[in-house]
């Protein structure tokens, strides 16, 4: 049996006779006592998200998941297609399991896919992804006094992001996939 130290994004946990993929986890030390691993995980069938708190070091029934770096290819109906960069093997993953992360996918980026018994169950995006700005309204003059004025632009994969008003169409920007926020010019 593995322990909380083996919990990572995309790991699959056997909990109460069901399988869940870890969406997010966080170590918490309430006060100065014991440490806990607060784990948000998604039911592999229904997609329902639950939160379980493990004591750090506690045994956790983590099932064996193979993590592969794969390249995102295209969307096919409700599914998303990825290719293993070394074997060129292709797989399709259900959009429900990708959830909100789907909006960051862009043809050609590398992601880490967790595969359980031949089926892709989880995805980890790079922390920052570069996009090209394809639609940007012009900056409105006299609007920059607050220093934090933004406008919405559209990226080359259709993602909408709030950016500073000085960003122009055709520029490349970095977006932080953990916060969903503009990071800097690429």
């Amino acid at each position: 049996m593995l322990s909380t130290a083996d919990i990572r994004k995309g790991a699959v946990i056997h909990h109460n006779n069901d399988l869940y993929a870890v969406v997010d986890f966080q170590h918490v030390n309430p006060g100065k006592g014991a440490a806990f691993t607060r784990t948000r995980m998604k039911h592999l069938g229904s997609g329902k998200v639950i939160e379980i708190t493990y004591k750090s070091g506690e045994a956790v029934d983590i099932v064996s998941v193979e993590f592969q770096t794969m390249r995102y290819l295209y969307k096919a109906g409700d599914n998303f297609a990825f290719m293993n960069n070394t074997t060129y093997e292709q797989i399709e993953m259900n959009g429900d399991l990708i959830g909100d992360d789907a909006k960051y996918l862009k043809e050609g980026i590398d992601v880490i896919i967790g595969i359980y018994e031949g089926i892709p169950v989880s995805i980890q995006l790079p922390k920052k992804i570069t996009y090209k700005v394809v639609e940007a309204p012009p900056a409105v003059k006299g609007d920059s006094a607050g220093g934090n004025v933004t406008k919405e632009i559209v990226c080359d994969n259709g993602l909408h992001v709030q950016v500073p008003i000085f960003i122009k169409e055709g520029e490349e920007i970095l977006v932080n996939t953990e916060t969903g926020q503009y990071s800097a010019r690429a």
Binding site: F25, G31, K32, F36, K127, Y182, A184
Partner: protein
Amino acid sequence: MSSWKELKENPRLKKIHDDRIIILKSIREFFWSEGFVEAETPLALRFPGQEPYLSPVPVRLTDAGKNIYYFHLRTSPEFALKKLLGAGYKKIFEIGKCFRNNEDIHGTHSPEFTMIEWYRCPGSLEDIMTDTEKLFKKILKKLGKDSVEYNGKEIPARGKWKRVSMKKLFQKYLKADLDEYLEIEPLKKLAEKFGQTTSAADEYEDVFFKIFLNEIEPKLGIDKPIFVYDYPARMCSLSKLSVSDSRYAERFELYIGGLEVANAFGELLDPVEQERRLEADQALRQKLGRETWAVDQEFISVLASLKEKNAAGIALGLDRMVVLCTGAKDINEVIFSNISDQLAI
């Protein structure tokens, strides 16, 4: 946060950084105006704390004669500040970096973070609650705000903040009388009722937090900041027992928007009892296979000199405070060139 390039090209992150500077300045102004003095205590410690579940970062120091000395970076300035109380200081504060090993580096967590601690001797937990509330309100005023923000939600900070006992929270959110759950077996049954796992190795505190972290904490401080006080006595290794009910200990935590911001104790000043507890923690470290070191005898000796006094103190996470006061998305957005940025992970 942020690389220099992000600060240069991202007005939102630059504003957060500018606000952090204002916050730091306001904190110092607040404490000086309240009669506190600023302490500066060592980062590198020969005898760090004994908290069984914290891992200090080891550092190796070599002198000119090539002798090697082993130290650890502090996880908190607590022992050193209490030694200054023993030296006769009555109101002290420190703002400084602390480090924790073996924790996540990505996302919402940073192994290098800034702690504000302050102590009053004499002092009570009520005094510390009042300090905390006044400090936040002063900072918000400087920033031209009267509310904080977390996870995109605004939390009003005006008016008197709530002060609620843990027992009342159990009643409200779990419909349970905490007095009946002061032993581990009934508490385990309660945890299982709420879908949590328990094991034979769980201590009382473990089971308590499995329930608390899931069923209560996320709901705390949503409409107004809240101080939660009176924790079950068996969970508080550095605090003294409540005078009115010895089943509970003098400890409080501040929650804002479901986030734990600060943790305070009515300080345990009994050297014999403190040494016993530290030795028990040290034994537990050994049992857990963690690195161990001697109990800091200077810390025990300072308690002997403070024994007849009342002291209270608090540790408040500055980075979390900055997140709340600036509306930043996570901890890493408020720490310039943080470890995650440096490693590019």
